[in-house]
Symmetry: C2
Subunit: 448 residues, 2 copies
Amino acid sequence: MEELFRLTEDVKDLLDTDRAERLAQLLAESHPADVSRALRELPVEQQTTVFRLLSREQAGSVLHEMDDQTLLELVRALDEVELSGILEQMPTDNAAQVVDELSEEQAEKVLDLMKEEKSEEVQELLEYGEKTAGRIMSPEFVAVHEEMSVAQALDHVRKSASSEHAFYLYVVDDHDHLVGVVPLRRLITADPATPIRLIRHEDVVSVTPETDQEEAARLVAKYNLLAVPVVDGDRRLLGTVTVDDVIDVIQQEATEDIQRFGGVAGDETVLDPAQAVFTKRLVWRFINLATAILAASVIGLFEGSIRSLATLAVFMPIVASMGGIGTTQTATVVVRGIALGDMTASVLLRVLRKEVTLGLTTGAANGVVMAVIAYIWKGQLLLSLILGVALIFNMVVAAVVGTLVPLALKTFRLDPAIASSVIITTFTDVFGFFSFLGLATLLIKFLL
Amino acid sequence: MEELFRLTEDVKDLLDTDRAERLAQLLAESHPADVSRALRELPVEQQTTVFRLLSREQAGSVLHEMDDQTLLELVRALDEVELSGILEQMPTDNAAQVVDELSEEQAEKVLDLMKEEKSEEVQELLEYGEKTAGRIMSPEFVAVHEEMSVAQALDHVRKSASSEHAFYLYVVDDHDHLVGVVPLRRLITADPATPIRLIRHEDVVSVTPETDQEEAARLVAKYNLLAVPVVDGDRRLLGTVTVDDVIDVIQQEATEDIQRFGGVAGDETVLDPAQAVFTKRLVWRFINLATAILAASVIGLFEGSIRSLATLAVFMPIVASMGGIGTTQTATVVVRGIALGDMTASVLLRVLRKEVTLGLTTGAANGVVMAVIAYIWKGQLLLSLILGVALIFNMVVAAVVGTLVPLALKTFRLDPAIASSVIITTFTDVFGFFSFLGLATLLIKFLL
């Protein structure tokens, strides 16, 4: 952290004192991830100035590390010739991610200006759906034929242009079908004359380009892989999804889950400008307004009772609020369980039983305490009992709603995380007001 | 997913029909991660039966992949001799993680039974604080002297017992100080006579054993590493934190952030039994009860106004609810921003300005719409205006609270995620009720 701050400060100093040469040198010595962070802290005009001091190759790495918002501002200021030159230096998958962020017009111009082969490779990746393994795979990998010897394979590795990220050799047969994998280290320790066929692992976990990126990430995480190969319907190797991309996917999906649950767009970042997030925030706030009005209309049904007994208005938000925490706790665990693959149909009953048990027991504990406090506060025994009972009811409803709503969304192929507090607490607000005010209205003659 | 279901079903079938030999064979052919998942679906007695069919080595891998809850149940059923035999086969860091889950008494017995060297290594790791790099590092790595040639280094790799996970060679000087790193692939492509000194990368990102595991994970993610070396104060190499452990840390921290924000313990899983989570759930529910009573007591101050005008009770939860979504949205983005390292002191004013702008603008939009709806519903112009104004006020308060509370917690070295909805919405509940009912009470003579 401290080093990063120093880089940002140093860059600012050198800019202010107009020492471009020293600045270019400093940037060349810094890690692209650090340069990218430092750039973000600068005003937009200065970002372009500093960016232009980078070598093409480093510029590509810096672009890859950059958050979408800064990237957009920066590429808008660059011309297409500059941009295409940088993209050509980038690994194909990273270049595709940048092109994907450009406006259609700019993307077309840039792809036209790039060398034909690279441009086609980028376009191929972009044809796969968003958030698929195809979109994030790297088409660079090292493949060897199963009949090669270890010595031949080593020679092939030496000659292949692929990056230092090749930790696995993929083994293919005569028809280019994937038939195995050999970790690089195994290659070093094996006798040079051994045929690859004999040292390959045959059980290769693979995905197709259409596989959801989250599923590909889950496989890499589960089997502790450094990369997972992407194959077509005939098991022909198309590329690999590497562990550094998997980490990005995991971070991104975690952010998405957290933020959607909080009623925020999955890709919002804390540094996005207000106008960029206004609409999405507003949509959720209006949805919340609608659900709040729904809950209020339930209260409206009992306005007469409240007029006779204003104390009802004092207690009613407690019932709703307790339903809110109950359903939020349950839904949080269930949504996360779905994301981690723990929450499957086979354990539904077990989870439902557990949550209802928790709803009943904690509800009873909270209900009794609340009834006692209410009795001490207002001295109305029956009202205090109604409050306690409504609270227990609502906690059980919360358990059921919190378990079933995310699962129902999942069943309809929607993201369970949109079962955000906004949606699920509507159930407990409505039920909470209804049960407490309803019970009180039924028994109102004993309460007055 | 389907394969996993098949394994679980197959295991159950073979258990029911008592074909232990076929079952042992099936397990031996399956990936430890899959066996671990399948075990979890079985009743506790059967878990032990199946587990005992595994080879010691595979049993270790299966234990490593297992969730804490199932692990606990399983090790309770195993005797210490069995357990120590399995732990000896495990990589030291994984063994330490299992020992850490045992009761003190069982841990002591098991460590006594293990081979002295391994037992000491495990104990060394356990001496580092929880959630530090030291606790999750693997003491197995491959180090070479800077004056070795590439050929000598390759020979050293061949002879070293370290696992297939060695993708980097760490380079040390005469005093065993870390002075560089060479990716395995570079070793293959370099001329055998080249001294290691000439091909090493000198800029090695490293951590100390006391570094927070989350910080170590952040470095691996940021610099796209496969492992980060752990060094002591003199830069002597102690071990490495590998990318598969980093993925576990990232998943675990994401779960923690999501769940704490939802008022649930950070390590709860959807399959934990009710009694294991009862207390922690209950604590948050009681905290919520206390904050709800606080909000209710604010309403209590205005009971007289509500008695005169019951409509106030209908509208007041809307103001509170809108404050709730506002503060939850803001805090969600800020908490996630802190976790990702985006939200730092240097951007505080920028973020605060943005959130207040959003609070004002969306508040105005929501306030106007709500005022119109309230006017159509109840026909009381002044009351509708008061509702709209209170709503706007509360959205601005929500923006400030949602930004500052997580940051304040961070400043006091508390987890920002405990600024859960429960805590932050208390501010907007209290302020919402107070502003709406307060304004209405001030103007009550015009409202009746």
